[in-house]
Amino acid sequence: MNVTFESIGNKLVIRINGDIDHHTCEAIRQRIDNEISKKNPKGIIFDMENVGFMDSSGIGVIIGRFKQISEKGGATSMINVKPQIRRVYEICGLQKIIGVYDSLERAVNGMA
């Protein structure tokens, strides 16, 4: 598992590579929180292209980051969401708070 970041304007793109489960979520959370405190982004975009599997531990990570960013008035979104992850996302009701976009460009513009 590794996590990389890209800043586009005041948005932070978070690219997670690997499975997101209880075993990996603590390291993912720390990497993201370090980057958020360094960059102080106005919005975050989770790029899920290289996430093969996610369970509800991942939902905990995403909601936790959503709370941090929304406290500062920012939005959270996701791109490249595979069907397995989409089902977990929908069952957990994330569609009410986190938008899924079909491209990075749309996510960046949609969150403007």
Binding site: D21, D55, S56, Q84
Partner: protein, 142 residues
């Protein structure tokens, strides 16, 4: 229903075994040629149950988690057992968003995910003896 095949897996309650456990179950049930979605559903449900055993059953102390998977025609039955502290109130634990460990940023959606992805989920638990989660799913006909 006749049992066509059975497997049993036992491993230490270490979090690095979560991906191992769901992959083993997925490999075992692959003999039924499930769809990609059906396979993903079972993997996700197994991951939730094993995570519960590790975090809540053993509270990150070391113990043994046992998985028994049975194939009966197009139905898979999976039992995940720990010998940990047990669940005090199963009804409350199964409620969406309930978590006994909010400080760990748990979503409280583990049982909801299991119930959504499997056809049946039965939970039996005895305080200080352990918990068994038994789940069933019938795959579509080929």
């Amino acid at each position: 229903m006749n049992i066509d095949n059975v497997m049993k897996l036992e491993f230490l309650s270490k979090s690095q075994n979560e991906s191992f456990a769901r992959s083993v179950v997925a490999a075992f049930i692959a003999q039924l040629d499930p769809t990609i979605d059906e396979l993903a559903d079972v993997k996700t449900a197994v991951s939730e149950a094993v995570t519960n055993a590790i975090i809540h059953g053993y509270e990150n102390k070391l113990g043994t988690v046992e998985i028994v998977a049975r194939i009966m025609s197009r139905t898979v039955e999976i039992e995940i057992t720990d010998s940990g502290k047990g669940i005090e109130n199963i009804e409350v634990a199964r409620q969406p968003l309930y978590t006994s460990k909010p400080e760990l940023e748990r979503s409280g959606m583990g049982f909801t995910v299991m119930e959504s992805f499997m056809d049946e989920v039965e939970v039996s638990s005895v305080p200080y003896q352990g918990t068994t989660i038994k789940m069933r799913k019938t795959f579509k006909k080929l």
